[in-house]
């Protein structure tokens, strides 16, 4: 019994240590500025305040960044999931020449570093006159999101028994009819978890946003918030921590409600590869 309690305390000690930076972010964001410079630091805020959140929304372009990030991540997710659902169906269930090489190419690009593609992509988008737009970022994000989504969906698709489709075909359904009526409902959990992962990936992307967008009107949260750190003369840590919390809120929502989907996605793509 004592050993069990000791083990539990030990385990929770580590868990809390790992989670401490996140706790500290939350605490700092609700402390008034003057309390940050108290020594020794206060563990819990003496005075709770939401002034930084209000300032964030009223005095900084945070909401524009937030809106941009929402548009950007949603658009990327929709485009990528639509294309890759059809693509994964084709890769798993159809036979034609070049299918294997294509699957190999998908895996290869999934591992490709962004810095290799970023120079030609930058040149390409600048010459098309698309730099400084959200659209250019959607194009750029496709480079990592599409191989990723395809790879995930491919393994989800492979998990659906082939007999289901055959049965529908025997019953007289067309191939596309069977796809819509039989495959899609079976694939739905896979599609949802792929969409969530793609959304998170786009939400958190930094490098392409740094290189391709240089104006506040199209900047997403990652580069926008980082700019607030770099451009301020006097670093306001409470404000930055409030921004960090707000930036993580959509992820927390995604994470809390759909944890089972997330772990399933991990098993299918992230690990089995």
């Amino acid at each position: 019994m004592i050993r069990r309690v000791a083990f539990n305390l030990f385990a929770w000690g580590i868990v809390l240590a790992v989670a401490f930076p996140l706790f500290w972010m939350l605490v700092t964001s609700v402390k008034p500025q003057f309390e940050l410079f108290r020594r020794p630091p206060t563990f819990l805020p003496e005075t709770w305040t939401l002034e930084h959140y209000i300032r964030l929304i009223q005095d900084t372009p945070f909401l524009t960044y937030f809106k941009n990030s929402i548009i950007l991540s949603t658009a990327t997710t929709l485009v990528v999931v639509a294309i890759s659902t059809l693509g994964a169906y084709s890769l798993v269930r159809f036979k034609y020449r070049g299918r294997e090489s294509l699957a190999f190419l998908v895996l290869f690009t999934y591992l490709l570093p962004s810095v290799v593609l970023i120079i030609p992509l930058y040149l390409m988008l600048v010459s098309m006159g698309l730099s400084n737009t959200i659209f250019s970022l959607v194009i750029a994000y496709t480079t990592f999101a599409l191989p990723y989504a395809l790879w995930l969906l491919r393994s989800f698709m492979a998990g659906i028994p082939e007999d289901l489709e055959s049965a529908a075909l025997v019953d007289g359904a067309s191939r596309m009819g069977a796809f819509v009526d039989v495959i899609l409902p079976q694939l739905l959990p896979g599609i949802i978890s792929t969409a969530l992962f793609t959304f998170i990936l786009s939400w958190n992307e930094y490098l392409y946003a740094l290189v391709l967008v240089n104006s506040d009107s199209a900047r997403p949260l990652t580069t926008g918030v980082m700019n607030m750190l770099v451009s301020s003369f006097n670093i306001e840590w409470s404000l930055l921590m409030a921004a960090s919390v707000m930036m993580s809120v959509p992820l927390i929502i995604v994470f809390a409600f759909l944890q089972s989907y997330l772990t399933r996605g991990f098993g299918a793509g992230g690990v089995k590869g």
């Binding site: 059809l86 034609y96 810095v115 030609p120 480079t143």
Partner: protein
């Protein structure tokens, strides 16, 4: 009958090609074309603001191999990758073993552990910069209070502190990936194996090395390869924490590519760095892809 079969098969093949067409088009436009032009660009000398290029052949590669900065960045890249990967694996496997036990509020503990992996690197960096703050950071305060240090430490501005800090924050951010993967595998190890080992008189440590570890071997190999590739090409974490500094002490190859292209305005040279970096990574990538294919075949 035979003829209609082939007609149907041919029609299916056509449908299959139609379905994959959008993927192929997008792939060619945003991945294959840029990849080929990256290699092509590396044979030019290009000044970024004007985008005027001049053919220089393999000169960029010759300059690159003779440059100290390239070799030191490569060494930094290897130190960062090996350091953070080792910590991720040790922490990850350890944490997975702990979370596999029946501890209080297990699902809450699992969520808390996974969280660093899902937040943006920007958020992680901001929080850690605040923790690392030399005057008001909690880390310096705690370490002073415990007596581990006598003076506030500059975590990111001096060496070797900067490299150690980057490696530690990297391990904190990415070890949950290892936890999830190992945990999923742990749950599939049959209890009978542990029973048998217990009957044979194996203690907890012997059981770990004789039962758990051999069972985890395959998944660990995959995790190590994947994470090695991802850590090797990591840009955000290092760029945001130290910017490659102090001076170039934590500059890795991805940072070098970025600097060359967008700070020094040498696109062609940057492309050459990127291509060389890709060639180094290709070794890992091919090993990983081979392995995945073998698994698919069996």
């Amino acid at each position: 009958m035979q003829a209609s079969q082939t007609v149907l098969e041919r029609r299916y093949a056509a449908l299959g090609l139609l379905l994959i067409a959008p993927t192929v088009l997008v792939f060619c436009a945003v991945i294959v074309y840029p990849l080929v032009s990256a290699i092509y660009l590396s044979l030019f000398s290009i000044f970024t603001p004007t985008l005027q290029g001049e053919w220089v052949g393999l000169d960029n590669y010759r300059t690159l191999l003779a440059k100290d900065e390239f070799w030191s960045s490569l060494v930094n890249n290897l130190i960062w990758t090996v350091g953070t990967l080792t910590l991720q694996i040790l922490l990850g496997v350890g944490m997975a073993l702990v979370l596999h036990q029946n501890i209080w509020f297990r699902s809450l503990a699992r969520s808390l552990i996974l969280f660093p992996y899902f937040i943006s690197t920007v958020v992680a960096v901001l929080v850690w910069k605040w923790l690392f703050n030399d005057l008001y950071g909690i880390l310096n305060h705690l370490m002073l209070a415990v007596g581990m240090i006598d003076m506030p430490v500059d975590y990111l501005g001096t060496m070797p502190n900067a490299m150690i800090s980057v490696i530690l924050v990297g391990a904190w951010k990415f070890f949950p990936f290892v936890v999830i993967a190992v945990l999923a595998r742990l749950q599939t190890i049959p209890d009978a194996l542990y029973e048998a080992a217990r009957i044979d008189g194996a203690g907890p440590i012997a059981r770990f090395f004789d039962v758990t570890l051999p069972q985890l071997r395959d998944v660990l190999v995959v995790i190590i390869m994947l994470r090695a590739i991802w850590d090797f090409k990591e840009f955000d974490m290092i760029y945001l924490l130290t910017g490659g500094g102090p001076i170039t002490s934590t500059q890795t190859l991805p940072l070098l590519v970025y600097k060359e292209a967008f700070a020094l305005n040498q696109m062609g040279m940057a492309a050459a760095y990127a291509v060389v970096m890709m060639l180094i990574m290709l070794v890992f990538m091919i090993v990983y892809i081979r392995r995945t294919r073998q698994e698919a075949d069996t």
